[in-house]
Amino acid sequence: MTDEALWAVGRGTGITALAFLTISVALGIATRSGRPLQALPRFAVADVHRFAALAATLLVALHITLLFLDPYAQLRLVDFVVPFLGAYRPLWQGLGTLAVDLLVVIIISSLLRQRLGLRAFRVVHWLTYALWPVALAHALGNGTDAYRGWFLAFAGCCALTVAAALVWRLRPNFAEYADARLSGRA
């Protein structure tokens, strides 16, 4: 029974982490626009973006810890760092490891961004555009619930959210002051 509970919570934390990652990516894109979001002023958009990322990190830490403790998952310590060496579904699990690697680099560089400087921080932060799809692919390929309706609906929502944010990102009036700066009118 405990094993099943471990397995369930282990998967659950992963799924919730994906949800928070999705929110973080969407809000990260929103921060770039310089716009407030509904009730959220601009500084709050940045704050929630950070909070969601840190929440996702915590959940991922729980996710891999619980799965490490679960004998069913057959995870060794090396599997948390080096991808594609796993015994159970090596490809999809490897994507999970890759996602963790990316997440660690991104989070550390973000926490230390004042010291890193703007350029280095930005270059590493672009990796978030790789992190999210890798995490989603890992969830779909590795997840035991991948064929359940509710999970597909959830994954669909995540994908839709990020897709919508990307479409918004590419629009010419994405940035709040894009038009004003083009005309230069005062």
Binding site: T31, G34, R42, F43, A46, E176, Y177, R181, R185, A186
Partner: protein
């Protein structure tokens, strides 16, 4: 009792980084407003507006949150800043 004059904290904008995202103006509405293009404009008209003591906490928040790391707080007394007008 001698009162030690604490140096004024001034908000410095690195204009080569600023993208006028507006977080600082939200957090420091008494010190800054926005120009027609979204960039922060000092209400006192100076290059580096002085930050009143009660706004310091928000100023530090603005420095930490600026997405472009364009802000910094500089402690200045009139003597420590030998700024000469460069061409």
């Amino acid at each position: 009792m001698k009162s030690t004059k604490k140096p004024t904290q001034r908000l410095h904008v690195d204009w080569t980084r600023c993208d006028g995202r507006g977080l600082c103006v939200e957090l420091l509405p008494d010190v800054l407003r926005r120009d027609p293009w979204g960039y922060p404009l000092a209400r006192d008209g100076s290059r580096e507006p002085a930050v009143p003591v009660q706004a310091l906490r928000n100023a530090r928040a603005a420095v930490g949150r600026c997405p472009r790391l364009a802000l910094s707080l500089l402690a200045t007394t009139p003597e420590t800043r030998g700024r000469h007008s460069a061409p």
